[in-house]
Amino acid sequence: MRPSFFHHLHPPTIPALQARLRYTLGAGGLAIFLTLVTGLTGALEMFFYVPTPEQAGLSIQQLTFLVPFGWLVRNLHYWSAQLLVIASILHLLRVVFTGAYGRPRRFNYLLGLGLLVLLLLFDFTGYGLRWDEGVRWALVTGTNLVRSVPLLGEPLYALIVGGEQPGAAMLTRFYAWHIFGLTLLVLILGIWHLFRIRRDGGIAVPPPELRNNHERITRFELVRREVLAMLIGGAALLLFAIFVPAPLAAPITEMNAAGGEPRAPWFFLWVQQMLAWGSPFFFGVAIPLGILLILVLIPYILPNPKRAELGRWFPPSGRAAQIITVALTLLIIGLTLAKALVESP
């Protein structure tokens, strides 16, 4: 069989050890698939979405209720974006818990963290584009957090919001970043990330001399497995999108109106929980950035896992990184649950 374009995106053969679902969880591949779905459905949404405060909410209603299959496109976009956050975090946890962040993959680990940050920015700007009552609190609070940064706060706020309060200027900026700026950055970092996987020797496994299993699979086999994963993932996503509608509320008419539900998007609930404790800058900006910094420093400060211990979960030589990451994960999950469960009606 002559390899097609899609086969050529893969190496001719890879070690079978690199393609074990129980090892990789398929999270990275799933993230690529969800990125493609999000991009495609997002492009379709652009035919209807109007990025002005007066029209944004109405154009989403138009898409959702009046355009044939518009509801499906929007639900797919929304749910693939949410699942993408989960898949990316799973991918990150897999990399840390299997010790795959060590040399020579340190730089690609940074690229991955960069992609995660871009992804959260993508989600937040997309959340803001709804411009409805359900996101008003998060828009006001999120942008006000920027103000709390010492010295840089006001210029940053002006850069992001472009006015006294979130309005037309900010919506245009969110739109431009969402559909163009962030997309471009994700393309660059994403392609770089994929390139570095191959450059760094594929998925982390011990070097050939330290392996027992020398079996290899062909690119044909690999693509078939990917197709199967995409079919199952696609069907699951589709069924989810068919039966669980993406949230939508009445368009914002007054940004500073009283009332409304004070609720952050789910991936920032943990930050919202901390905001109740005091200083917005410390809890809302410094701690999240601090957590990111800890993740960035893991491969550079902690001893890298031994090469012989690669290709398996929880290698003993990566214990410190695992403990730190488990602690951070539990902290974030705990804070999220505290906010989501305790204060929900």
Binding site: W71, G234, A235
Partner: protein, 417 residues
């Protein structure tokens, strides 16, 4: 199972999911578009509400649509979202939102000269402020030294005070600030007799609130949610609508409670009115609005402290006195208020050149006109029934022309109850 077979099975699963998407699409509500001429913005409310009757001939749906009055999300075909921004829930005429729903210069908050100031008048009327009852109770229990109204159920101001009996402003009454326990109890138990109040429980005397308290006929209807008969506005208001407030039971000043009547009144003369009161025939055969005018019911824009300050129709308004015939005037313009009122409730065929009765304040009694034989014809506003009546003049009535209050007429003309 080989990988190829797995792929085949997964393809079937995906196909199934696609079929489910098509099925879900086919189940969607069929969108029914309407673009009202007043808004020029398409709305899809009729997709679900096609069975609602048109609210009134003056508000044709092709002109007004739904959203102009009700608010709501005009594009949404999801009930919760579509209804989430409706003004006043099911009743956009609630006074808290009435300006946005019914107001506007061309609608019901225009100038007094054009008789378009309905909202300004209704929200300052004593039926809305309840200022008279509040002043009287506060005076009775020593919280104020005279009967001048100081408080209403909510704060309200009147920038152009016309009558010498009116006040420029009412503060919001808060019974918890009162020291007298009686006034506190009054606040707890007796503040449900005004236009903004939700009716008491029970459907016998159920009504809506705001403008719809009077203009949406509820008497005899079940006003449970979902009742499409309630989608109606009318100026032909039956006496029973007035009775949803005005003959509903008795208050007791000793316990400061209101005891709702439990009977279902059938016979209007014997069952409805206070046993000690006297009535002449027209007071229980006609509807309230056949004699009482729009300014009496809806106020004249001033803030009063007593019903007596605004209610002025007496027997003489229609029947005149031994010395004088009732006042009349001839309609000279198409813009005349009488023609508009007759258009809204076409029980009488009025046109320019017709002569009709007029009150002493100059309000048209547009449903009454003199006949050539010296009698008068009255068309009942709610039933359309025609009545003929005579003036007092030349009738042999011996009552002193200087004492023409209705109570004097009752001395001879009250019916046996």
């Amino acid at each position: 199972m080989t990988l190829r077979r797995w792929i085949f099975a997964a393809s079937l699963l995906l196909l199934l999911a696609l079929l489910a998407a098509g099925w879900q699409e086919s189940r969607r509500v069929q969108a029914v578009a309407l673009t009202p001429t007043l808004t020029s913005e398409v709305e899809y409310c009729l997709s679900c509400h096609a069975d609602l009757p048109e609210i009134s001939p003056s508000h044709p749906i092709e002109t007004f649509g739904c959203v102009l009055c009700h608010g709501g999300e005009r594009l949404a075909l999801d009930a919760d979202l579509a209804h989430s921004t409706m003004r006043g829930g099911r009743n956009p005429s609630e006074f808290s939102v009435v300006e946005a729903s019914c107001g506007g210069e061309q609608c019901h908050s225009g100038s007094p000269e054009l008789n378009r100031d309905h909202i300004q008048r209704a929200t300052t009327s004593i039926q809305s402020t309840y200022a008279g009852a509040i002043a009287s109770i506060r005076y009775t229990f020593g919280a104020q030294s005279d009967l001048t109204p100081r408080y209403g159920v909510s704060a309200v101001q009147d920038k152009t005070v016309i009558s010498s009996k009116a006040v420029p402003e009412l503060l919001a009454f808060d019974s918890t600030n009162e020291s007298s326990p009686w006034i506190q109890k009054f606040g707890e138990n007796c503040l449900d007799c005004h236009l903004s109040a939700q009716p008491r429980e029970g459907d016998t005397y159920a009504r809506l609130s705001g403008c719809a308290a009077c203009h949406t006929p509820t008497a005899g209807l079940d006003i449970a949610p979902g009742e499409t008969q309630l989608h109606r506005l009318s100026t032909a208001i039956n006496y029973s609508q007035c009775n949803t407030c005005h003959n509903r039971g008795n208050y007791d000043l000793r316990s400061m409670t209101f005891t709702e009547r439990t009977d279902q009144p059938a016979d209007r003369l014997h069952d409805y009115y206070q046993p000690i009161a006297q009535f002449v025939r027209c007071e229980w055969t006609l509807d309230c609005i056949d004699c009482h005018t729009r300014s009496e019911a809806m106020g004249d824009g001033d803030l009063y402290g007593s019903k007596k300050d605004i209610q002025y129709t007496q027997c003489r308004t229609c029947h005149g006195t031994p010395d004088e015939l009732p006042l009349t005037y001839t309609i000279t313009s198409l813009e005349d208020l009488a023609l508009r009122q007759a258009f809204l409730n076409p029980v009488i065929d009025l046109k320019v050149g017709d002569t009709i009765l007029m009150t002493e304040k100059g309000e048209p009694l547009w449903n009454i006109r003199p006949l050539e034989d010296g009698t008068y014809e009255l068309f009942a506003k709610a039933s359309g029934q025609r009545f003929i009546f005579r003036p007092v003049m030349s009738s042999g009535c011996l009552q002193n022309p200087e004492e023409q209050a209705s109570s004097a007429c009752h001395q001879c003309h009250a019916v046996e109850r």
